[in-house]
């Protein structure tokens, strides 16, 4: 006998939007329980939209290990002294107080999909009817020969917002004129495709504002091309001539070894030395996703593009960087967009509310220099379960200064808007 999903069961009973008198819930609970693991751009948005739109029909629990959330998006601007750390760090207070979300400041270590529980580090078990897995990324440290979690304390990746960001900033701030930075960007797919190149721009911007005219940044890439390459290349030439050198793997022949302590990156071509190494390794879905059996060989989680529902477990939704979201890049914007579709589908599952066709969006803004912003983005829809783009745009090199300034200012408005949308 085929196991009925809750949706099929509800449809069979002819249950509509207003007719669920007794919502189906976890044993011992009056209301359906939604548990969200990960309080970033995906998880926190899912929590807020569920709590806001279900109007009390479901209980929402958000499990996040960090007390506050420092966004990885805009962290490059902090590195470049354009934004303060406080301005990119957000509290969960509003989500708890204004939306009635049960925010648990803890680390989720496991998911029992048969019992439908999430286990915390202290052993506490949290039952769920619907589960959202939004753990972001974790580093595959040994994907870069010689790199490790320990080495990241000397050569930070700063590809997760928070302590790593502050560590990289401290190291940048301690550099003197003539000191060089070596950056090793990650292979595809990774969080925030233009991110490493915006970061190089912001490092160069910092050197410029501090009069460090002889300091350089060498990017030893593992990819033959990168997002918005034409725009960055032209921008670096305009704002920071001679400061940033990007070297293709076809030129350096491959990364052979990174020695964080010695400050060296050995390639087939040559050994490069820098006072500061910024190594950003290959990434995978946050480890709980693998622990829960939700990942495939890629290290990320397959989902149904029409709902963000895991193709492995119908009671679980995976959103944000941890998901395999077709044409959508891994970004905070994408995570926030996917969270809204997931929340709508979860409410549909648990309360019988309306479910509309999935629509997604993403725009990635990058700051190249003062009053010089560029963007790339698209709209998306699900086509037979795969997310594809429906319209796209990208900045061009023949835009005038006024346009670039407006684009940069637009990004400031976006940051303010999206963080309100995520955290309340």
């Amino acid at each position: 006998m085929t196991k009925l999903t809750r949706r099929q069961f509800n449809k069979a009973l002819g249950l509509g939007a207003a007719s669920l008198a007794v919502p189906l819930g976890a044993i011992g609970q009056a209301k359906p329980q939604v548990v969200i693991v990960g309080g970033g751009a995906g998880g926190a948005t899912a929590a807020r939209y569920l709590a806001k739109d279900a109007k009390g029909a479901v209980d929402v629990t958000l499990i996040e290990n960090s007390k506050n959330y420092t966004t990885c998006f805009f962290s490059n601007l902090y590195l470049g002294d354009v934004r303060s750390f406080d301005s990119i760090t957000h509290s969960y207070d509003k989500l708890a107080a204004d939306y009635g979300i049960n925010v648990i400041n803890a680390y989720a270590t496991a998911v029992d999909r048969d019992k439908k529980t999430v286990t915390l580090k202290d052993g506490t078990s949290i039952p769920y009817d619907s589960l959202v897995i939004a753990p972001g990324i974790d580093m595959v440290y040994d994907s870069v020969p010689g790199y490790s979690e320990d080495a990241a304390q000397i050569a930070p990746h700063a590809w997760q917002g928070g302590p790593q960001t502050e560590l990289l900033k401290a190291k940048l701030d301690s550099l003197e004129n003539r000191d060089a930075v070596i950056m090793v960007p990650p292979p595809n797919p990774y969080r925030c495709p233009p991110g490493p190149y915006e970061r190089a721009s912001m490092m160069a911007h910092l050197f410029k504002t501090r009069g460090m005219t002889d300091s350089t940044i060498t990017i030893l890439d593992v990819k033959p091309k990168f997002s918005k390459q034409g725009l960055f290349t032209a921008g670096w030439e305009a704002h920071y001539p001679g400061v940033i050198e990007w070297i293709s793997p076809e030129v350096h022949g491959g990364i052979l070894n990174v020695d964080a302590t010695a400050g060296t990156v050995e390639t087939d071509l040559d050994t490069f030395e820098g006072k500061l190494l910024n190594v950003i390794p290959k990434q995978q879905a946050g480890v709980i996703a693998q622990a829960a059996g939700l990942t495939d060989d890629s290290g990320y989680c397959p989902i149904d593009g029409e709902s963000m529902r895991s193709t492995i477990d119908e009671n679980i939704f995976v959103i944000g960087d941890a998901s395999i979201a077709g044409a959508m890049p891994k970004s905070g914007f994408s995570a926030n967009s996917q969270a809204k579709v997931a929340a709508m589908n979860i409410r549909g599952d648990l309360t019988g509310s309306s479910v509309f066709p999935a629509k997604y969006a993403n725009t990635c803004w990058s700051m190249i220099g003062t009053d010089d912003g560029v963007k790339v983005g698209a709209q998306y829809a699900s086509v037979e379960g795969k997310i594809e783009s429906t319209s796209t745009f990208i900045s061009t090199n023949d835009e005038d200064e006024a346009m670039r300034k407006a684009t940069f200012e637009e990004s400031l408005g976006w940051y303010s808007g999206i963080t309100s949308d995520i955290f309340g």
């Binding site: 967009s337 309306s354 709209q379 637009e410």
Partner: protein, 117 residues
């Protein structure tokens, strides 16, 4: 009375006239397109869902830097603006891409929902 006011407004703004918007842009409106969208009976719940995407940049509490306020704006104004973006008659890459992916039904739902906020 409201219908008369709306009809008059559409007629006035579309009579080979251009509308100067707060941003200083001047646009030409297509009255048939506008009336067609405004005539659609919109689903408010669908509108609320679609507007979720707008909230990423357009904050409900007001203008956000150079990102204008849309909540509570006049429905005809909103429909005109979105149609102009979709017609590629108004500048902004992000808005052009967003509206390129919107059907008339979706436009109607969005402006109905926003106009009521």
């Amino acid at each position: 009375m409201i219908m008369l006011r709306n009809a008059l407004m559409i007629w006035l703004v579309c009579l080979n006239a251009t509308v100067a918007l707060a941003s200083g842009d001047k646009i030409e409106l297509n009255s048939e397109q506008l009336e067609s969208v405004l005539a659609i009976e919109a689903d408010a719940e669908f509108g609320a869902y679609l507007v979720g995407e707008c909230l990423t940049c357009h904050t409900p509490t007001g203008a956000n830097g150079n990102i204008p306020q849309i909540h509570g704006k006049d429905k005809i104004y909103l429909a005109s603006a979105l149609l102009e973006y979709r017609n590629q008659q108004r500048e902004n890459d992000v808005m052009r891409a967003i509206t390129a992916a919107l059907s008339d039904e979706e436009l109607a739902a969005i402006v109905t929902y926003l106009g009521a906020q």
